[in-house]
């Protein structure tokens, strides 16, 4: 069975609430069947609006959304057959767990014994068997969350939408729920569209991530590519940590360019610079810059230690390097006894490939 790569398709979708500001601008997005795609972005970036348009609670101002090649703009939410997990679970407080799960089946006029079977299966999937007769208020946050997931899946929808479902949980629970949702997705192969503002969540769970900002998808790619190869400075800044230098291109060849900084010059990988004189922001991941590099590196600089922060598994060192006082280094704790004292000068090196010359901020 070949997978439909355009199972969900946003085609030139615009959305405006007040006729003045576009919340979503010219969105084109294809989601393939069985994919776990995450819409990631700061609040107000339009990601939840996209989800609501897909669920049918908002209508696109322009453009069309297709589900399995059928336009769905004129289909009301209850006929779309899309499961949804809401931010605060939206469990029906006056119904038991069983009744909550049976609700989507009952409105579809499923037989009683069939309902029992499906509810049973869904509950065991989220390891909540035996909780059928509890009321939602008697469950912990994590349990409520699982019930909400089970309820969104119990009627075998083609697509499940999740709107920041883990936002209300504490850190440990959130992490274990991330794995659990990921495993459920892997087991039943449902298409999941997940909305979050937590990049860690997005990176661990998704097949692909769409980074939203200002109503636009800034980058759509797999988590590793997103982290390793951000295409613009917003993505570089938003995903993970980032050291930046602002400067001007003085020389450019195919895969290396020279960037003149305020007080120095570095070699970088030209991503979105084309010619001499372009302004640029050079982005380097903290773990790509090494202290006292043994191998030969394209860039070798000396920085002054401004701050040392102990993080358990690693130590973060803030340097004053080439005029950037916020240059962060991550040093694994296993590494040898370095002389990390305030005010000390240390050598730092990185390859030009890891220094990505992006659009200026």
């Amino acid at each position: 069975m070949s997978k439909n790569t355009e199972f969900v398709k946003f085609d030139k979708v615009d959305k405006s609430y007040d006729g003045k500001v576009l919340v979503v601008k010219d969105l084109n997005l294809n989601i393939s069947e069985g994919e776990f795609i995450t819409m990631l972005g700061p609040s107000g970036s339009g990601k939840t609006t996209c989800l609501m348009m897909l669920a049918g609670f908002e209508t696109p101002t322009n453009g069309e959304i297709y589900l399995d090649s059928n336009p769905i703009s004129n289909i009301p939410p209850h006929k779309r057959g899309i499961g949804m997990v809401f931010q605060n679970y939206a469990l029906f407080p006056h119904m038991t767990v069983y009744e909550n799960l049976a609700f989507p089946l009952r409105v579809r006029k499923v037989q009683k014994d069939e309902i029992d079977k499906k509810v049973d299966k869904a509950l065991s999937m989220v390891s909540l068997s035996g909780f059928e007769s509890r009321m939602p208020a008697q469950l912990s946050g994590g349990q409520q969350q699982r019930v909400a997931v089970a309820r969104a899946l119990v009627f075998d929808p083609a697509v499940v939408l999740m709107d920041e479902p883990l936002g209300a949980l504490d850190k440990n629970l959130r992490e274990s729920m991330q794995y659990e949702i990921k495993h459920i997705h892997e087991n039943i192969g449902v298409t999941v569209v997940y909305v979050t503002h937590d990049q860690g969540e997005a990176l661990t769970m998704s097949n692909r991530i769409a980074v939203f900002n200002d109503g636009k998808v800034q980058q759509l790619s797999s988590p590793d590519k997103l982290y390793e190869e951000p295409v613009n400075s917003f993505v570089a800044e938003f995903i993970g940590e980032n050291n930046t230098f602002g400067g001007e291109v003085t020389d450019i060849s195919k895969d290396v360019c020279k960037v003149k900084l305020q007080n120095g010059e570095i070699l970088a990988n030209p991503i979105s610079v084309n010619s001499k004189g372009d302004k640029t922001t050079v982005s380097i991941r903290p773990e790509r810059a090494l202290i006292n590099p043994k191998d030969k590196m394209d860039n070798n600089q000396t920085g002054k230690i401004e701050e040392v922060i102990y993080h358990g598994d690693h130590t973060r060192v803030r340097l004053d390097l080439l005029g950037n006082k916020e240059f962060i280094l991550k040093i694994p704790n296993s590494s040898n006894e370095l002389d990390l004292k305030l005010g000390n000068e240390i050598k730092v090196g990185w390859n030009s490939q890891d220094a990505r010359a992006l659009d200026p901020k």
Binding site: G56, G81, F86, A90, P104
Partner: protein, 420 residues
Amino acid sequence: MSSETKQILTTDGIPLEISLKKAERKNKIKAFLLVAPLLLFLIITYIFPIGEMFTRSIDDKMITNMLPKTFKSMETWDGKELPPEEVFASFLSDFKILVEKKEHGKLAQRLNKEKNGFNTITKKLFRQVKRNKIDETQGIKEQIMKVHKRWRNVEYWQAIKRTAPPYTSAKYLKAMDMYLNEDNKITQVSEDRRIHRILWLRTVEVAFFVTVFCFLMGYPIAHLLATLPMKYSNLLMICVLLPFWTSLLVRTASWMILLQQQGVVNDFFVMIGLVADDNRPEMMYNKVGTYVAMTQILLPFMVLPLYSVMKTISPSLMRAGKSLGGTPFVAFWKVYFPLTIPGIGAGCLLVFILAIGYYITPALVGGASGTLISNQIAYHMKTTLDWSFASAMGLMLLGGVLVIYWLYNKLVGVDNIKLG
């Protein structure tokens, strides 16, 4: 360690329980003193008057104190034939004292309530006594019987005997259009005189339908209030509350202006040709007027509890219902509606209880067919001055409300009420 449960001691060696009580006593006293004024206020303004009302409604001591000797001598009388001489004698001596105190009128009034016809014969007896026509040395029975033929009728003496007990349930029976007959049996009054039962039924009926109308109108309003964006819902809230801030009398009067036969609504109907000018419908001084005005006046009492409940229902619940495949109606009926039941209960109970005791509005716009039991109470308070009867009806109303409250608690549960 021993397995026995040991008394736990504080570090100072005092048993923990005692120490805890001591520590909390101060707070308890403080809390009691804080509510004490309210308690006192409640006792003075609520419990005491209700107790007073109750005693008044069953009190029949006035006549007991007026005719002490008569009742004493009547104790041995079997009440089948005319009483013996000594009853007449003691009645006369009681009566003379009353004449001296000029209280014979009160007696006549009270006896007349028990049986029609006492007014005349008491007046006649008074004249005889005043002129000293009755010779106490001779047969008093004969002389009194000569005053008027009704004094010869055993039924009138039986009526006097019936008033002997210091307490009576007559007022309550009267409110139900019943009375105790000569044989002390509860009897219905003749059909053409049964007015109270109609009023009770009408009161319940009006209260019920006003509650239904308020619910039908209030539910959508409350829903709008709870879901509209702030700037519109505030305006709507003011529209709901504006009548609240207007005097009840003014509101009722404005309904009179609107509903009367030459009023605004009728003018409008004539203008659009709905009714002929010479055939304007009566919308006031009947039940229609009562329904319209009371529904409008009581509407906020339905809207506010509903609103406060609806405000707490997350809009994502309806969305969840729809996204799970429920049509908007199913999502409303299965998800939203059950969650508003506490508000519905509170609103309906509030409106019903207020409506059942409503007074000014039905008095002004109700006319003959739109008056309620409270108008009857007011009538007896102000016009006939039969306060004990008014008290009895008031207490019956209170009892009815308590029964409704009890029923509601059985059916829905009072803990489910949410007033805000």
